[in-house]
Symmetry: C2
Subunit: 342 residues, 2 copies
DNA sequence: GTGAAAGCGCTAACAA
DNA sequence: TTGTTAGCGCTTTCAC
């Protein structure tokens, strides 16, 4: 069943059918009516592959995410999908699972489907796989990589806004020894976030203490491991920020397991504000990164290349802000040192 | 850049290029070599829309899920994606978010892209939207709807296996008053699960108590609401099963908030075994539904229609089994009645 | 072992 | 306002 069949049934040509489907206004209303009715009757759906073939563009945006298991990404995905679909595009999703061997294959999937652009939320270290993307003139929008070029834009996370609020909040609560559990070592996005942490610390006249700063892996396990180390220190931090909420969950779990209380013994601040943050006990104070804003920013960034895929890219920024819940509280006057550790 | 360009550069015809790309064995090795090299050099990727156009099938399977925010689905998605991609297919994902207005549009997305089949994990009530699917001869595999036909298969969840284990486990712990918080009212999948619960209860010679059975909504909120009701009963259940883990999380939250202890005051059993189950405190005893098995079953069910999309469907079943963690324990000798409630 | 050519369904330029 | 037609890139039959 194709447009010619519809055309025959409606007594018109396939060109007219095409015009009706695409809402051209130079078709007589009665004709439109007649064609519409036939389409309805036979439940006809046009074949997008023909259009894609003709135009060389598929109306599809690729979305590459690292770890769908981290609740942040499904939430993002949902926003991105709805924006894309509302605008009559399609989304081609791929997860790479931090396993970079798949990256090459993922890029290929995008390329053979002739996507009109790729939103890359996975911050792998290597840049090599993307060369085929730029070589094939597929616009790319990255997350917090800081590099832009022809057909390449970047969405930076403004950690500053949220970090400053967080530090102010902690300082008001009397915290001076503030720790940080980061993301995976080597990822620019992790590094930006630690740097923002250090700067924010200095801005409230506190000194960063290297012992208090640990790497995680953006997962529960990393949060657990790092917090275990922090708790075993003679001199512990009284508050800890984490690179994402999932890390915070891991950290909290260890704290609770050690018989300590949040926030009485130690305050925790997460990052992302996944829905879970509101469910975990105690509810997590966190730096909110608005998923819808982020998704919209990626979409707009992609649209920027609509006319010409080689247009020079732009730097976009999305803000973060502090959401205060119950995992932060006044600093203990004195940290119980050593005695209660392990 | 198309196959003709490659052909020119390699001094062959486009037919030969096609043969090389598709691994035909009737091309001379040297020719293969030569063509491969050119493809490599110019980073050529064939355009699948041409193939889709020619064959009328896209090598894509649609996946429709209700609520990507429930961790079960991302975990499923990940398995399904990897199976599909490993087998040189593509996945077109769509979420409907329990908002059935989107369903029609979602089906359209599948249809215009000429998917080779649809895995439908969303158990909406209405069947009408799927008519366009069967009408257009797109194979459909549903989850626990129990109905099969030409081009229509079903994957049933064998609740029995897990429920029996759960009941045995609870009975051994001395529980007699066992409650249930179900899914959304009206969904066949919810109903199957309650029915399985009641039957399992009877099998261990316990009587189902209607007061102890509540509806939820597969989300935290539903678990909270239902558990609040259960706790306000004069005569409370000593153990509660839930329709999914997220519901269990909500239920646990309420219990903890009321100052009760799990499993000392009340035991909880979830369903799904999302990764979260292992993280929540105390770690959740749950009926595991293996995501990979489920995804594989859906994939195989879809493949069943490969040769002829109108082949008669099959009934598939995936098992569940009990994973014992720390949210279940011995029944209290006497339930503290009334006094501690609210 | 390789090439020529038709055709998949749609769109847009051009013709009427 | 509507129709005719070429062509998007690939596969495959048939011919060589």
């Amino acid at each position: 069943m194709d447009m010619r069949d519809i055309a025959k049934l409606a007594g018109v040509s396939s060109a007219t059918v095409s015009r009706v489907i695409n809402g051209s206004n130079l078709v007589r209303p009665e004709t439109v009516e007649r064609v519409r009715k036939v389409i309805e009757e036979v439940k006809f759906f046009p074949n997008t592959s023909a259009t894609t073939l003709k135009y060389g563009r598929s109306g599809t945006y690729g979305l590459i995410i690292p770890d769908i298991t981290n609740p942040f990404f499904p939430e993002f995905l949902k926003c991105f999908e709805s924006i894309v679909v509302e605008n009559d595009h399609e989304m081609l999703m791929a997860t790479t699972d931090l396993h970079s061997g798949h990256m090459q294959q993922t890029i290929r999937r995008m390329l053979v489907r002739r996507v009109d652009g790729v939103a890359l939320l996975a911050s792998e270290i290597e840049t090599e796989p993307f060369e085929s993307l730029v070589h094939n003139r597929v616009p790319l929008v990255t997350m917090d990589r800081g590099h832009i070029a022809n057909g390449l834009s970047d969405v930076a996370i403004n950690n500053k806004s949220g970090m400053d609020q967080a530090m102010l909040h902690l300082k008001e609560l009397g915290h001076k020894k503030i720790g940080y559990i980061g993301g995976s070592a080597g990822l620019t996005i992790s590094e930006h976030r630690v740097e923002a942490f250090v700067r924010a610390l200095k801005r409230v006249d506190l000194v960063p203490h290297p012992e208090f700063m640990r790497h995680g892996n953006y997962r529960v396990t990393g949060g657990m491991a790092a917090m275990t180390e922090l708790l075993s220190l003679k001199d512990r931090p009284t508050a800890v920020l984490t690179a994402n909420d999932v890390t915070a969950v891991g950290a909290m779990r260890v704290i609770l397991k050690m018989g300590l209380t949040i926030p009485r013994d130690i305050s925790i601040i997460g990052f992302d504000d996944i829905e879970l943050s509101d469910i975990v006990h105690p509810p997590l104070t966190t730096l909110r990164l608005n998923r819808y804003d982020l998704a919209k920013t990626f979409y707009d960034a992609l649209q920027h290349f609509k006319a010409d895929s080689r247009t020079y890219g732009k730097r976009h920024v999305v803000k973060t802000n502090l959401v205060i819940r119950e995992s932060t509280g006044p600093a203990r006057k004195r940290t119980a040192t050593g005695s209660s550790a392990i």
